[in-house]
Amino acid sequence: MNSLQTYTTGNGDEQHTLVVIFLRGGADGLNMVAPLGDDGYFRARPRIAIDAKTALRLDDFFGLNPLLKELLPAYQEGSLAIVHAAGSEDDTRSHFEAQDLMEHGGLAGGGWLGRFLRANNSGSNGPLSAVALGHALPECLRGAPAVTVLETLADFSLGTKRAALVNQLAKLYGLQNTEVGAAGRSTIEAVRRIADMRNTVYRPANGAVYGNDDFAKSLLELARLIKARVGLQAASLDLGGWDSHFGQSAVMNPLMVRLAKGLAAFHKDLAADMQRVTLVAMTEFGRRVAENSAFGTDHGRGSVMFLMGGSVRGGKVYGRWPGLSKDVLDGPGDLPVTTNYRNVLAPILERHGGQPALPQTFPNFELNPVPIFG
């Protein structure tokens, strides 16, 4: 087990895993983490604002949407942090353009995470160093060395009826006293370990309960991979569908529940292992401050980012609140971005040992990292 770790990451069981969750569609940060202390919020959203009385108080200004209540314990215990009025410099308000810029980390080739993994590469990468849970490679991981796209752990195998093949490969690679031989042996070890995992019923720890939706299932698979210590450096997954132009609550409410339940289960399940994990959830842009006639909101700018992990200095909402008066709103009436998303990601990447890789990860950008770690 140690040999695989050493081979894949070089730092044994200390391997840190970065989990990136993309909330596609433009998630409304204002109704997830409501600025209860700003009257402008209630004035702009007479029908869809979160009721100050039911909101869960985060501090003397912000309140959490009650549908996100499952996130409250992690927040209170200090392992969940929120950054408000966060986003990118893209002002096209186009899903495609904004996602593209955010995932590429600017006008650059490849995705920010892909470039980071390349630049932070200590030599070789294990078969499971980067994983995208889903059916396609997300742009942020474009250009990474060896990314595995998988929906379930079953995808990481040679199929169920290939035991004889695996055994023979184990023999042939076992005979090779070369780096290729070593790589083959490590790969077989990883395949076998994951096969063992598949063959046992997974019981989440500490009474964590994952839902039956795809997001929860992906998080569960991810928790298993992290616990199995197979050298996972980065994982990405999506929770899409936040584009709430019309009947916002019908669109967003179930997603918020899914998000909160999923993250809460993941957090509870991993418990002490969260020390080695940093999770970040982000979206391409927030929504217009003012509601529209269809009980919805249109494309805006600033939104929220969620950060979770054992070392995150949580229990706090970060970011400068710009206010919602007319003179500060951006363009057609949007929450201005006061924290660039790179300034939230950079300290995470630093924590994951990648300080020297930052200039390549976020080219042409002067970083001013948010101090989210203790």
Binding site: L107, G109, S124, N125, A146, K171, L172
Partner: protein
């Protein structure tokens, strides 16, 4: 080429409509007759039979994307001595224009967007362009007779890497591949460098298009200038300074590209020189003085002056001794070993220098070094080579479709997806984590699980003459006892051999 394509479409009854309706991949039967017949595995063939990789197998491993059934026997007949036959094969490969390549040309023609003129590329979805570019590349690697040429196309695509996901490279990389890399892959290095410098895709990728200095307070964009010195020519330890980078950047100010954002919307993708953005002052580069432009030149003369200076810059960097060493090192790394042998690097650099960067004689020198012939079976195939060589070895009929590209993506080696300008690494370490996907690919191809790709292993086994001979063909040498035992006991003999350590090497 363009004319031919048009003719091809005209010959078909309402060809365009038919092609649109059926998709190019499923040509109606009537149209299939226009295509040349697939050559097929052919008759019985003789595989290599030595215990170790012999010279013929060695050149097939390096000058091609892997041996097809019959290749070994065919080239062994080129001369009496194996080494002489191998050299004769290399000579053929070094003159690609003399090699008939109808099958690959026909097959690549299905990727229609590849032939579109620059401006018209912008009419297509970037996703389609990228897919066709990847598929055409794989198709040629598998089918082309001009194998060494394709190997070198890949080499230079890495050397002058452009990730099409940046900005308008999404559309322009297709033209870069067609108009910069391919025409010069076995040509003259200085000409390729010039074409690359003025390639609209490169001007986008390394920000040359926004490199300007209208007055002394404006700072040029150094991105391209730095990579020109660090990656494309003299190399990182080649003896240039930060000042040299800045001076090159100044020399190249003013060359820009018409973007799709430009109004009016025409001439898009066209490279233009804007004298007002160029720095006409004196410069100093790698010890040479480049004089300032005389006062009072008209617009045309100013452009001529800047162009002449650009030519001078290219001359300085391409004739710099460190450039010859840098290119020779990369070539020897590619064709010999991760740690390129010094003696060979010296010899190759010498030819590069005295032929002024003529790639063909440079390669000829490389292929005559003792180090090349000694470096047998010690390079770990990169994933693309692994996939192409497996397809070639089992003579797969393939549409080079997306299921194959997905495998390459999983292994981090889908063509034109490398983010930074240094190109995909050409050493083993970064690729060692890809074995599981190689093994899965080996199973998928030998079990005919890949849509659009078909193999007939029964015929292959018959033609080569049984299991042991088949193993000789796939491994390029006689299998060991352990390999044959594994072949039989695995239950999936061909997959086992394609997945075995030996097949990962070349």
């Amino acid at each position: 080429m363009h004319l031919k394509r048009r003719k091809f479409i005209e010959t078909t009854a309402s060809g365009v409509a038919l092609l649109a309706a059926a998709g190019c991949d499923q040509l109606p039967r009537a149209l299939q007759s226009l295509l040349p017949p697939q050559a097929g595995i052919g008759g019985p063939f003789r595989p290599p039979a030595a215990d170790q990789i012999d010279p013929l197998v060695h050149v097939l491993n390096h000058a091609t994307f892997g041996a097809r059934p019959g290749d070994y026997e065919r080239i062994s007949k080129l001369a009496k001595e194996p080494r002489a036959a191998a050299m004769a094969f290399l000579e053929q490969q070094l003159a690609p224009a003399t090699l008939e390549d109808r099958v690959a040309e026909y097959a690549a023609r299905r990727f229609e967007t590849m032939g579109e003129p620059l401006g018209e590329l912008f009419e297509y979805q970037p996703k389609l362009l990228h897919e066709e570019l990847m598929r055409a590349t794989l198709m040629r690697a598998v089918l082309s007779e001009r194998q060494l040429f394709e190997v070198m196309v890949q080499f230079w695509s890495d050397h002058f890497n452009i990730d099409p996901s940046k900005g308008e490279c999404k559309w322009l990389k297709v033209a870069d591949d067609r108009d910069v890399i391919r025409p010069h892959a076995l040509g003259k290095f200085p000409e390729m460098l010039r074409a690359s410098l003025l390639s609209p895709a490169m001007l986008w990728y390394l920000d040359g298009r926004v490199n300007r200095r209208r007055n002394s307070s404006e700072k040029p964009n150094e991105n391209y200038a730095r990579e020109l010195l660090e990656l494309h020519t003299v190399g990182v330890h080649g003896g240039y300074t930060q000042e040299d980078v800045m001076e090159v950047a100044r020399c190249l100010t003013g060359w820009t590209v018409r973007s799709k954002e430009n109004k009016p919307y025409f001439g898009i993708g066209k490279v233009e020189f804007k004298p007002d953005l160029h720095d006409f002052g004196a410069k100093r580069l790698l010890g040479y003085v480049l004089p300032a432009a005389p006062e009072g030149l008209n617009r045309e003369l100013r452009e001529n002056f800047a162009t002449a200076q650009l030519t001078r810059v290219l001359e300085i960097v391409t004739t710099h001794p460190a450039t010859a060493t840098h290119i020779a090192t990369k070539l020897c790394r590619h064709f010999m070993a991760d740690a390129p042998p010094e003696g060979a690097v010296k010899a190759v650099a010498e030819t590069f220098r005295h032929t002024a960067g003529d790639i063909t004689p440079t390669l000829r020198t490389l292929f005559t070094t003792d180090e090349f012939w000694a470096a047998r079976g010690n390079k770990f195939k990169r994933p693309f080579t692994f996939v192409a060589s497996a397809l070639r070895a089992v003579f797969a009929e393939t549409d080079a479709g997306m299921p194959l590209v997905r495998y390459l993506e999983r292994m981090g080696h889908a063509p034109f997806t490398y983010p930074t300008p240094d190109g995909f690494p050409d050493v083993a370490a970064p690729w060692l984590g890809t074995l599981l996907w190689r093994w899965n690919f080996a199973v998928a191809i030998s079990e005919n699980e890949l849509k659009g790709t078909k193999v007939n292993l029964k015929t292959l086994r018959e033609r080569v003459g049984g299991d042991e001979a088949l193993a000789c063909h796939l491994l390029g040498r006689r299998p060991t006892g352990e390999e044959m035992q594994a072949y039989h006991e695995s239950g999936l003999g061909v997959a086992l051999l394609l997945a075995s350590p030996a097949f990962q090497m070349c």
